[in-house]
Chain length 268, copies 2
């Protein structure tokens, strides 16, 4: 069986002490460069492959510093501090001597504690009741997902402005690749820029910084499997050429897998 | 006139090429080590003082890697990438050879664009109509603020658990120090741990990673001046010894100055 394009895209090969080399793929390309979610997944993957890594991801912040050209890149993860229950990381991606991407992450051990999900999962129709509708086919990476927008699909030609930037969609890997931390990281950037929805049309925009908080345990991810997850995203404030958005990723059965936030540059 | 303790606490002095030295202060101490918001403000301040800095803060992520002891510490800010309209930074704080804190930040230029605040400011009584009530006096840093809780004050002895982790409070500097980016950064960590509210009692807890998105322009900060700001915070999910919270800081006149998120370690 052919390797899934997601696994091909997050593949990193050791080239020298601590340096891992990867390569962009056509299947996960965005309009310019790779899908930001894939870049974020690669930063996480570099930590995951590090021999000193302990625990599972708790938080990841990825800063998109420069465009990534098609081709090879080097990723280096450095443990900055290891505590009894958590570990702090710095990761950079370099291409032709230029830092394209930086990240910090915290990995940690989870313990049994009091628990509660206070955020409420929206009451939405099942994915089978929602029509499949992706992003425009020019967005290569989006074709890897079966997307079903309940609310806030990408505006069609001639759409008007909207008062709300909220998008809710069911999404799953089209080829049935099960969810893991890398795929959850990628999914945290699955939302097209909220400014499109407000203006009713695309406009130049790009994520500057993406933070994901991982709530899911490995067991919860395994239980989510290859089923649809629900993504919900809303912007808070647009001004001065930037906006921020907050989003949640829910398993179909109602587990809050991740909360994720980003600040985005836009032009109007 | 004596220097304000906030300005004394964020003071950094160059000691060698690129390294800035600061010192903890009793006035901004937390139960253990300094107030996390003050540490975050120091990380931002180190960028602000760097000769290559351009633009104003857009985002800041601070990772609390190790406890900070009372005394001196060194902060180093490194520009990793300068683009036409934004600039990417890495900052670390080191004490006795140990990395206590790391941060990444994006600074940038703001331009006139389409703008809108989509998040709604809660409809709350004016600060003059709300009783002053701070945190327990053992929390030294909190005494620097005039705090007025509209909802979700820190639980008193004998309080029961609560279904909601939401806190809304008016807060301002007690001595009238006007708001600037450093003070806004500090304010983004003004919320005591949400787990206290859910359990109805304090329990060991500490911020692991704090991200702040800056929406305010320098003009908007100047306009907020020394008046009260409204802080609103809620947690999303508590599990495995961690929870995340999302918060907003509003000016009294309704400008969304910052949105801020954190993941917190807790024990029960």
């Amino acid at each position: 069986m052919a390797e899934h394009s997601f696994d091909e895209s997050i593949r990193l090969e050791p080239v020298e002490a601590g340096v891992l080399r990867g390569k962009t793929t056509a299947a996960w390309a965005n309009m310019v460069g790779p899908f930001g979610g894939m870049t974020a997944a690669l930063m996480l993957r570099a930590i995951d492959m590090h021999p000193e890594r302990t625990g599972a991801p708790l938080s990841l912040t990825v800063n998109f510093a420069a465009p990534i050209a098609d081709g090879e890149f080097d990723v280096t993860a450095r443990p900055l501090r290891t505590n009894r229950t958590n570990q702090h990381w710095f990761v950079d991606m370099v291409q032709d001597g230029t830092v394209t991407t930086t990240a910090t992450a915290v990995f940690g051990l989870r313990r049994d504690t009091w628990s509660d999900t206070e955020k409420r999962m929206p009451d939405v129709p099942a994915p089978e009741e929602v029509e499949e509708r992706g992003l425009p086919p020019v967005i290569a990476w989006a074709r890897n997902y079966d997307m079903r927008f309940i609310d806030g699909a990408a505006p069609s030609k001639g759409a008007g402005p909207s008062d709300s930037s909220t998008t809710m969609l069911w999404a799953r890997d089209r080829l049935g690749r099960p969810l893991d931390f890398a795929a959850l990281t990628a999914a945290s950037d699955i939302f097209y820029p909220r400014i499109y929805l407000r203006l009713g049309a695309p406009t130049p925009a790009g994520t500057i910084s993406l933070t994901t908080y991982f709530h899911a345990t490995a067991l919860e991810l395994a239980s989510a499997g290859d089923d649809f997850v629900l993504g919900c995203a809303s912007a808070n404030r647009f001004s001065g050429g930037y906006f921020d958005q907050s989003a949640e990723i829910w398993s179909r059965s109602g587990t809050l897998l991740a909360t994720t936030h980003q600040i985005v540059y836009f032009k109007t």
